[in-house]
Amino acid sequence: MYSTKYVKPNSTTEALEAIKSLSEGKFLAGGMTLIPTLKQRLASPDGLVDISGCKLDSIADEGETLKIGAMARHISVAESAVVKMAIPALAKLADGIGDRQVRNRGTLGGSVANNDPSACYPSAVLALKATVHTSNRSLAADDFFTGMFETALEEDEIIESISFLKPTKANYVKFPNPASRYAMVGVFVAQFGDEVRVAVTGAGEGGVFRHQEMESALSSNFSADSLSSVNIVSDGLISDLHASAEYRANLIKEMTKRAVA
C-alpha cells in the first residue's frame, strides 16, 4: 500500500471538511473493497477519511419505509429484528453477502456507493424504490446508479442513509460466482400492490438494472409461469471467464423464477 493519511472524524460535517482538505481523498466505510485495492497499489489516495465514527449506523422502521444508516454493517442488517419484520428479503440479502468476516465489516453505504456490478445491495436499492439520502440531497434509486462503478454521487458527498419502501412481497435470489462468491447473477423482486420491480445485479455491463419485460409479466401475473414466455436478451450482459452473456441470461430468468416461487 502506498503511504496515505488516515483520519477518523466524528460527524459527516467533519468528514466533508476532511475530504476537501485532501487532493484525492477517499471515504473509508467498511473497507472491504477499498483496502484490498490499496494493498494491490491500484489506487493512491493521499488520505482516507474513516466515516465509522460519524454515527450513521441506525436502523429504523419509519412506517412506509425502512431507513438504514450507511454505516450499518451487513451483519447488523441481517440480524436486525426490525429489518426482518419490515423487509425480510433485505435481511436475507445481507446475510448472503461475501463471507461472515465481510458481513462483520462491510457496510450498506460502502457497497451502494461503490456500485460494483456484482454487488448484491444495489439490486435491493433499485427494486425497493429506495431513496438515497446523502450529505446534501436525496436521490431516487432510479437516478442514483449511472453505470458500472458509477453513481450520481460527487467526490465530496457521503451517503448518510437509505430509505427502502416496504413492499407487499419481496425476495432476493443469487447465483454466486463459484470462485469469488460475488453475485454472478442476483435478482431482487419486489411487489408493491399491482406494481412489480425486478432488479438484476451481477449481469449487466452497466451495473445493476431493472428488467422491464419481467416486471410487466409479473405485474400481470406474479408467478414463475408468467416468466416462461419472457425472452431475456443477452445483449449488454457481462461475459467473462465464468459465465457467458447467454448463460447469464438463463440465470436471470431462473433466479427470478426462484425468487417468485
Binding site: 502506498y2 503511504s3 493519511k5 483496502i35 474513516d50 463471507d99 461472515r100 468476516q101 465481510v102
Partner: protein
C-alpha cells in the same frame, strides 16, 4: 505515523505505526504474534481471521488505525494458559488440521460461529466457513471438529 493503542489478548499494546499499516502487520510485525497468518492478497483465504470486539474479521483488510481502542483476540489468546479452548481441543481430537497454516483462522471463525449458534448444523458450519480456505483436509474433519467443539461449548447437535 501516529500512535495507536489497543488491547491484544488482554494486554494493552501501544505502538507508533504508519497510517497505511495493516492490522495483520501490526500483530505479526510490530507485536510479534505470528500465529495470525497471511495466505492471500484478496481477503478471501481467512488465514488472518481474528476477533475484533468479539466478532471475526480478516486482519488483512483492516488498517491498524481502524482498530484503535479495540479489544482483539488472536489465536494466541484463545487458550486459558495451558488449557486449550474447547474448539482447539476439538480440532485436536478430530484431526481438524494438517499443515496448520489455515488453522488459526479456522479456529477463530469456528469459535465465533458457535458462540452465536451453539446448536449449529453441519450445513451451517459449511456455510459459515465460506471465508476460510483449507487445502489439506478436504474440510471433512474441520466440520467434524466444529461440531464437536460446539458440543463442548454447550450445543445440543
Amino acid at each position: 505515523m501516529g500512535e495507536i493503542s489497543l488491547k491484544l489478548n488482554g494486554k494493552v499494546e501501544t505502538r507508533d505505526v504508519a497510517d497505511n499499516t495493516l492490522l495483520v502487520d501490526f500483530i505479526r510485525e510490530h507485536v510479534g504474534l505470528t500465529g495470525t497468518h497471511v495466505g492471500c492478497d484478496t481477503s478471501q483465504c481467512g488465514a488472518c481471521v481474528i476477533h475484533l470486539d468479539g466478532v471475526s474479521v480478516k486482519a488483512c483488510t483492516i488498517l491498524a488505525k481502524q482498530a484503535e481502542g479495540a479489544d482483539i483476540t488472536t489465536i494466541e489468546g484463545l487458550a486459558n494458559g495451558d488449557e486449550l479452548h474447547p474448539m482447539q481441543e476439538a480440532f485436536h481430537e478430530n484431526h481438524g488440521l494438517q499443515c496448520g497454516f489455515c488453522t488459526p483462522g479456522m479456529v477463530m471463525s469456528a469459535v465465533e460461529m458457535v458462540t452465536k449458534n451453539k446448536d449449529i448444523s453441519e450445513d451451517e458450519i459449511r456455510e459459515g466457513l465460506e471465508g476460510n480456505i483449507c487445502r489439506c483436509t478436504g474440510y471433512h474433519n474441520i466440520v467434524q471438529s466444529v461440531k464437536a467443539g460446539a458440543a463442548k461449548m454447550g450445543g445440543k447437535n
